[in-house]
């Protein structure tokens, strides 16, 4: 893949004012990649500051619950700042420093990338502003406070959908205005070239770690690696090292929201069409005229009508598969990890859990699946308790219950080894994919 294209996807559709800067960014990245001191700096920061490599955990209770393939969790939730996002911001923060930019700006949906950017700005002594949709500021309030504590200015975005899409628009507008002093620290494998390539290079360490450790422990590659997909950075980080391992299925799970038969979802690769958004050609949720649709997901981080161009290419070549999990399925996955494993996952990451359980049953006990647990769920606790109460009473979504009313597995011991009828019922509704 050269000149920023992945097949027909990617490219650089931005105002002229940014093209010279994007060239400079690419040059700075190429130079850094060839520079051993940059690599050493990254390694040290990742290890001592970021807590890498993150653990690979065999989720025995989830595995027993599924009754099939072994399910491993890649514990990105244990990395500093609570998600995989730090890998990318460490790299771009150091690049910004090398380019003499003293100000970082970023968009954020769930706040995970905003928190990571605020963190690196504090560490490197840079000014930082984060744009976050007003609606997302509300539902991820904890992360707003975290950013502010580290000295970042959080600007709520009140235009358009008031979520991630418009946060990106607003960050782009800031960048167009302040490009000479400011680096746009883009948080996913989206945007104009060279961002999808740079972000991928900084997050691909996830899959590299998984591959190395699994070979050591199991003596073989996994049958499938899975990750949630919004813009697609944690999935690309997981997939990239495995692209040439043709026996390994790469499975991305998008946000199915209220269902793909509604317009209330964010499943861009499953249900979108080709278009140009935020500087790149990819799949987009849009109308026949090219006006971008508002989207919905219970998770702010997946609530986005675009997706990284390399994912579009992996989809079209058939190398990766993409499916969708609904809000209800994400909540189900959230609850499974909480109750079976004692891990509170981010709602984003929770989207991959129910599809992983289903796949585990398909593959049978000889299979191995690795799920990227891209973030932890402290930030979601308020929202989840709120939503569970809303959907609990008899509204037909019988597989979602508030924990105090109906624990996933009332008799703890049996729950870990056998399916309750309720569980079987819920998983039968879980096969929604495109």
């Amino acid at each position: 893949m050269h000149d920023g294209h992945f097949g027909r996807f990617g490219g650089r559709f931005v105002p002229e004012v940014l093209t010279t800067t994007l060239d400079e960014l690419e040059t700075a990245f190429d130079k850094a990649q060839a520079d051993e001191t940059f690599a050493a700096q990254m390694d040290a920061l990742r290890r001592d500051y970021g807590g890498r490599p993150t653990k690979l955990y065999l989720a025995e209770h989830l595995t027993a619950h599924a009754g099939g393939a072994r399910i491993y969790l890649k514990r990105e939730d244990l990395a500093h700042t609570g998600s995989h996002k730090l890998c990318n911001v460490l790299g771009q923060g150091l690049l910004a420093q090398r380019m003499d930019k003293r100000r970082l700006i970023a968009e954020t949906g769930a706040g995970q990338h905003g928190v990571a950017t605020a963190t690196i700005a504090a560490l490197l002594g840079m000014e930082c502003r984060v744009y976050m949709g007003e609606e997302d500021c509300r539902r991820q309030r904890l992360n707003v406070v975290r950013m502010q504590l580290m000295g970042a200015e959080v600007t709520p975005v009140t235009t358009g959908t008031r979520t991630l899409k418009d946060a990106i628009n607003e960050t782009m507008r800031d960048w167009v205005t302040n490009v000479e002093t400011t680096h746009y620290l883009l948080g996913s494998v989206v945007g104009p070239h060279p961002f999808p390539m740079i972000v991928r290079e900084f997050v691909k360490v996830i899959g590299e770690e998984v591959r190395g450790e699994l070979l050591e422990r199991e003596g073989r590659l996994p049958d499938a690696v899975m990750a949630c997909v919004g813009g697609g950075s944690n999935a690309m980080g997981m997939f990239h090292r495995f692209i040439t391992d043709e026996t390994v299925r790469l499975i991305g799970v998008e946000a199915g929201g209220h269902g793909l038969d509604t317009d209330q979802h964010s499943a861009t690769l499953v249900a979108g069409t080709e278009g140009i958004l935020h500087g790149a050609r990819s799949y987009v949720l849009q109308d026949d005229y090219g006006q971008v649709h508002p989207t919905h997901s219970i998770s702010a981080g997946l609530d986005y009508p675009g997706v990284g161009p390399e994912h579009a290419w992996l989809r079209d070549t058939g190398r990766a598969e993409y499916r969708a999990a609904t809000d209800a399925q994400a909540l189900e996955g959230f609850r499974l990890l909480c109750e079976l494993e004692g891990i509170i996952p981010a709602l984003e990451s929770a989207h991959a859990v129910v599809p992983a359980v289903e796949l585990a049953r398909e593959l049978g006990p000889d299979g191995i699946i690795v799920v990227n647990l891209s973030g932890r769920g402290d930030k979601d606790v308020d929202e989840v308790s709120h939503v569970l109460e809303m959907v609990t009473p008899s509204d037909g979504e019988s597989d979602v219950h508030a924990p105090d009313r109906s624990p996933a597995h009332p008799p703890r011991s049996s729950a870990r080894t056998s399916d309750s009828p309720q569980r079987a019922a819920s998983s039968s509704t879980g096969g929604e994919e495109g």
Binding site: R12, P15, E16, V17, G279, Y289
Partner: protein, 273 residues
């Protein structure tokens, strides 16, 4: 389109380019506002086709776009309005919109379909601010086929090679952005505009118009001192919002005076003509 600019220059004034979005506050009023701009002395009209994610636009134009989209107008309605406009006016118009709108028009023809529809509606050219020269080959081909001029943006942050390629690809005029940033009114004119125009003059003989942040008659007069044309957008949209065609007419008349008052023919190109 470049003829219209040269003609204005020949009459001792900078050409005045006025931007207004189609469908704001409704389709008929937007056409009336564009016609009022023409009557009051605009030399070129720039018709915005609203897009959901206009990342080069500031709040004034964003809000106007939103009003038009909320009213349910589509790019097909916008094209139709341009056709009516063309029937009523004798100055050239160009469309300004984002690449995703062009690319989706009349799928599967897409870009070619958009170019043909624009030409059929009497439009003379197109400005697509998120289409840089490096990505423009497919568009330039279909635009040239139907005789549509293309206008590319040039910015002070661009190196000389980018400036030269933007100027070469611009078959109408070169759009020099006066300041870094998105569209919007500004109190004072940026100091960056004049040096940028000088740099462009060194690499092109094409007309150079200056826009973004040019809001008042005094700004227009200042820009007319070094550029071939003056582009005013957000100030016109604000006038349309506040007082409809009457207010647009008043503003454009004042801007046109500024374009005349401040005009100085560039020494080198004067002799070339």
């Amino acid at each position: 389109m470049s003829e219209a600019i040269r003609e204005a220059n020949g009459e001792g004034r900078a050409a005045l380019v006025v931007y207004l979005p189609a469908g704001f506050p409704d389709m008929d009023t937007s056409r009336a506002c564009l016609e009022a701009a023409a009557e009051a002395g605009a030399d070129l009209l720039e018709v915005g086709f609203p897009y959901s994610d206009p990342l080069m636009d500031g709040p004034v134009i964003q809000q106007a776009n939103q009003v038009a989209m909320d009213a349910g107008y589509t790019p097909h309605d916008d094209i139709e309005m341009c056709a009516q406009l063309d029937a009523n006016l004798d100055i050239p118009s160009l469309v300004m919109t984002y690449y995703n709108i062009c690319w989706h028009y009349r799928a599967p023809d897409r870009l070619a379909g958009f170019a043909r529809a624009a030409a059929d509606a009497g439009l003379s050219g197109a400005i697509v601010p998120d289409l840089p020269v490096a990505e423009s080959a497919p568009w330039l081909r279909v635009a040239a086929d139907v005789g549509l001029a293309s206008v590319f943006l040039a910015a002070s942050t661009s190196d000389d090679a980018h400036l030269a390629s933007a100027a070469d690809a611009s078959t109408g005029f070169v759009y020099a952005t006066s300041t870094l940033g998105v569209t919007g009114t500004r109190e004072s004119l940026s100091q960056r505009a004049e040096p940028l125009v000088s740099r462009l003059r060194a690499v092109t003989d094409r007309p150079v118009c200056v826009g973004i942040g040019v809001s008042t008659a005094d700004h227009a007069a200042a820009v007319a001192g070094f550029a071939d044309g003056v582009i005013v957008g957000s100030a016109a949209v604000r006038a349309a919002a506040d007082g409809g065609p009457v207010a647009v007419k008043r503003l454009v008349a004042a801007l046109a005076q500024g374009c005349r008052r401040g005009y100085r023919a560039p020494a080198s190109s004067e002799s070339a003509r």
